[in-house]
């Protein structure tokens, strides 16, 4: 229970007054000479338990009346966010608000989203609490903001829904810095979130550092968590996994790999609406299970220099995840550059990297690994490096190629070495039958084909390998012993891939092409995006610093790029997409939350099933005032009994 006027709590001490007066009176006997002692003695002995009970009751009622008066004056709150603790108004209130896309959902009982509900609850509570300074840190704003008044929290413009993600450890670290500032004084930290596991990242090492930091703050601020964990009603979400432009003699296509998730209560058949360059069409999609992957192939107009579109699912409990946006540019896919120490292998790689150029429109060039032509590199989308690592001068060219958005594929150099600053290759391991057992067949260069068939990675014969090792790299495929077969690093706008097996017959049967052909094709497509004038990005508040022209947006958010949509930046398109993790419904359980705040002054309130009243604090002073009146009334009735009875006894005489 929280009290808005804590100074009046001192008044509660007066509740002891009736007891003290009673005890003092008992000790301060007035002496009186009496004649009818026998009656007095009998009366005292016959003084029944009821009389004593009545006396105690009167005393209790007097105490209760004073308690009720004190509590009423202290203006208690209960039943909601502030009904947790008996602390008064802090000097500084830091509010961390999760404004990620997952907070935009609403259940059947709510007229507002989780975010709006949380903002309203916190706004009302902060207004009642009367903190001197309120600082808002939300996931969609790069900087902390000091609010003029608590009601600003409820401002829908200020806190519009977003399609961005949340890095909760990072947000809390910013909050810690704010709390630790000397100007904060006595402070509290309020957090409102849906506890989405992907946002909270409970395995992050930042958590222990954050806890230590909070514990060192003088006064150890109270941490309160408003958990918006209610389960949404029927919902389906759509994500664009990959968008690839392909060319064929028939024309130019845009291949969209889609991932549709659905909750149990959502419809199994959805009508998917496609908008492209102002035209709208629809397609029925049958969903199987919780996740369905499908590919939408869109035939682009001949000679089109670019455009954008969207795919939408029907309306449901979470509007924000029903639409994905895409864009395409001019048909310029770039070429495949091969830098190989072995000419034969280089020829083979160029054939595999750019098969049937007359059909697919992609050419291959062979470069000298000792001095690759920078002009050729600038025209390339994929660089295949089948040689020892380059010299420093050449390495700079390669790095520039990757930074500009190109895709680099390294093949084993044949001996242990350091490959730039990206990774190290270990020693050669051979004379064994290595098998690839784990690979990501959902997305990336080893994903399933359009027909849904997986690449035959497990049939790949590998007799010799060189393991690439890199900190922070992601293994796309791994051997059965856990060592990476294909490693991926992100560098600038581009990607760096490293294979553990070469294409010479003594190393593997990659040259057969069943794996290498689609791998190179996809890497070429990935690198080819650098020429399409389409930039793909996750919704993020910091993306909005450059002037943008909105072409299509999912919602009106502040900042603009916190919303999914298509933007024009100069002559290029910027496609902002909702982070895929935002569609993951996994939430932290209570034990995980407790462990994250272990050792802190932490309280949690769940928003529950969405009953609006449950989140609202109610001032209890009326209740206590009624209790005061009731106590006084009953006490009066009990004490009034005495003179009435006296009169009747006297009248008998």
């Amino acid at each position: 229970m929280t009290f808005l006027q804590t100074s009046f709590l001192w008044f509660l001490a007066f509740a002891a007054l009736p007891v003290i007066i009673h005890l003092v009176n008992r000790m301060r006997f007035t002496q009186r000479k009496w004649a009818a002692m026998s009656f007095l003695d009998r009366a005292r002995r016959k003084s029944t338990k009821m009389a004593k009970l009545r006396e105690i009751l009167i005393l209790a009622l007097r105490v209760l009346a004073l308690l009720a008066l004190g509590l009423a004056l202290a203006r208690p709150l209960s039943g909601g966010w502030l009904g947790w603790a008996a602390a008064g108004a802090p000097d500084t209130l830091v509010i961390v608000l999760d404004r990620s896309a997952s907070m935009t959902g609403r259940d059947d009982n709510w007229s507002h989203s989780k975010l709006a509900q949380a903002a309203e609850t916190l706004g009302n509570s902060a207004a009642k609490l009367g903190a001197r300074r309120i600082v808002l840190i939300d996931s969609a704003s790069p900087d902390a903001r000091t609010l003029q008044k608590a009601e600003d929290l409820k401002d829908s413009v200020l806190l519009g829904d977003t399609d961005s993600g949340t890095d909760m450890p990072k947000l809390l670290e910013r909050a810690r810095a704010e709390l630790a500032s000397p100007a904060s004084g006595r402070s509290e930290l309020w957090i409102a979130s849906d506890l989405q596991t992907s946002s909270w990242n409970p395995r992050s090492e930042q958590w222990s550092r954050w806890r230590s930091g909070i514990e060192t703050i003088p006064g150890r601020p109270q941490v309160r968590l408003l958990a918006m964990t209610s389960i949404l009603g029927g919902n389906a979400s759509i994500q664009l996994i990959n968008a690839v432009e392909t060319s064929s003699p028939a024309g130019r296509d845009l291949e969209l790999d889609l991932l549709i998730r659905r909750s149990e209560s959502s419809a199994p058949v959805l009508n998917c609406s496609l908008k492209l360059d102002g035209l709208e069409s629809s397609r029925e999609i049958k969903l199987s299970g919780a996740e369905t992957r499908c590919r939408q192939v869109i035939r682009l107009k001949k000679g089109s220099k670019g455009g954008w579109g969207s795919l939408s699912l029907p309306s449901d409990s979470r509007e924000g995840d029903n639409t994905v946006y895409f864009a395409y540019g001019e048909a310029s896919q770039g070429q495949v550059a091969v830098a190989s120490a072995d000419a034969l292998q280089g020829e083979l790689l160029s054939l595999l990297g750019a098969p049937a150029p007359e059909i697919f429109g992609v050419n291959a060039v062979i470069l000298n690994p000792a001095d690759p032509d920078a002009t050729m590199l600038a025209k390339s989308s994929l660089l295949i490096w089948n040689a020892t690592p380059p010299t420093a001068a050449v390495l700079d060219r390669v790095k520039q190629f990757v930074a500009d958005g190109g895709c680099l594929l390294m093949l084993p150099p044949g001996s242990a070495c350091e490959w730039g600053s990206w990774l190290n290759y270990g020693g050669v391991e051979d004379a064994r039958n290595f098998r690839v057992s784990v690979w990501d067949d959902e997305r990336g260069p080893l994903s399933k084909s359009a027909s849904g068939k997986s690449l035959s990675m497990e049939k790949l014969g590998i007799a010799r390998r060189q393991i690439p090792v890199a900190e922070g790299a992601t293994p796309v495929a791994s051997f059965s012993d856990g060592q990476p077969f294909l490693l991926r690093c992100t560098e600038g706008k581009g990607m760096v891939y490293a294979l553990a097996a070469g294409i010479d017959p003594a190393s593997s049967d990659l040259r057969q092409g069943t794996v290498l052909l689609p791998l190179l094709r996809r890497l070429q497509q990935e690198g080819g995006r650098r020429f399409t004038r389409v930039e793909w990005a996750s919704c993020h508040p910091e993306s909005g610093k450059q002037p943008l022209e909105a072409l299509a947006v999912n919602r009106e958010s502040i900042p603009k790029t916190a919303s999914a949509g298509v933007w024009r930046r100069g002559d290029a398109y910027l496609v902002c997409a909702r982070p895929e993790a935002e569609d993951d419904a996994a939430m932290l359980d209570s034990a995980e939350v407790e462990s994250l705040f272990n050792g802190l002054e932490f309280t949690r309130m769940d928003e529950g099933s969405g009953a609006a009243g449950a989140s609202q604090e109610s001032e209890l002073w009326r209740l206590f005032f009624a209790l005061l009146l009731a106590s006084m009334l009953v006490e009066g009735l009990l004490t009034l009994r005495r003179p009435l009875n006296e009169k009747s006894a006297g009248s008998q005489v």
Partner: protein
């Protein structure tokens, strides 16, 4: 206490127009205004009785003989004086003092006023004062000088000690052989049953018993609200009590006592009078005398 403090001439003057009448036959030494159980020479005809040898011939009613040829003796009522014995409880409980003074003082005033009326009408008054012992016992006499001496004694009486009301009343009932008016003035703090048995003793002896039950208003109403140490006037023992807690039971007990003592007195033909110290004495005694006068007719 000075005599002038409890002898009120104004009250005596007012009550002087009334008389003290006995409710039953009295046996006095002199001719008076009260009926005697014996036949005498008053002008009031009593009865005819058959002549028996030994009766004086002059008492034979010859007119009746002329009509009936039988001898009848004509008898007349005998009038005698009344002897009143005041019995005052002088135990320390009579020292109880309320807003209207002490109970003993109220008792003194009753004795003084009634004595004056009785002596004025030629009746004799006596006084017995006791606590646990018989302190004073003055026989009944009719002279004003005796009344003066009695008042002087009454002024000197100061209550003390405990009381043994029943014992002394029983002794008194046995000692006074001739029919008399016995006026008991006490707070009657004694076992009610024993007390009523004592009253029956007086009734058995043909005495006319009047009981003035002196109580203070505070004893009836118990108007105390603060925790109090009650000190016994008679024994010095004390009881610490919170009046709020015991009030109901005290009032119930005291009320029951009053009811029982009144009922017991009436049952034993005693003329019970509740004398609350805040009560107007003229009213109390006026009613007492008038009731008796009306009964006589």
């Amino acid at each position: 206490m000075q005599r002038k403090e409890f002898v009120d001439p104004k009250l005596n003057a007012k009550l002087g127009r009334l008389t003290v009448e006995a409710r039953s036959f009295m046996a006095g030494n002199f001719t008076g205004r009260h009926k005697s159980p014996h036949r005498g020479s008053s002008v009031d005809f009593a009865q005819y009785r058959k002549y028996v040898p030994g009766d004086e011939i002059r008492h034979i009613d010859w007119r009746v003989y002329g009509r009936t040829e039988r001898f009848y003796v004509k008898e007349f009522e005998a009038d005698t004086n009344l002897r009143c014995h005041f019995v005052i409880d002088c135990s320390a409980s009579m020292l109880f003092e309320g807003k209207n003074g002490r109970k003993i003082d109220y008792a003194r005033k009753i004795v003084a006023a009634l004595s004056h009326v009785l002596v004025s009408q030629g009746d004799g008054v006596g006084l017995a004062v006791f606590n646990d012992k018989l302190l004073h016992d003055i026989p009944a006499r009719t002279s004003p000088r005796h009344l003066h001496a009695m008042m002087e004694l009454l002024a000197k009486v100061e209550p003390s000690g405990t009381t043994d009301l029943v014992k002394h009343l029983d002794e008194l009932a046995g000692r006074i052989r001739r029919r008399a008016l016995i006026v008991v003035i006490s707070d009657l703090f004694h076992d009610v049953e024993e007390l009523c048995n004592t009253f029956s003793h007086f009734s058995f002896r043909k005495h006319d018993l009047a009981v003035f039950h002196v109580v203070d208003r505070d004893e009836i109403d118990f108007p105390i609200d603060k925790p109090t140490r009650f000190v016994d006037l008679e024994g010095g023992e004390s009881i610490d009590a919170d009046p709020e807690t015991i009030r109901q039971d005290y009032l119930r007990e005291f009320s029951a006592f009053m009811t029982e003592i009144r009922a017991g007195s009436l049952r034993n033909k005693a003329d019970y009078r509740l004398a609350v110290t805040d009560q107007d004495l003229e009213t109390l005694l006026g009613n007492f005398l008038l009731d008796r006068m009306m009964r006589r007719g």
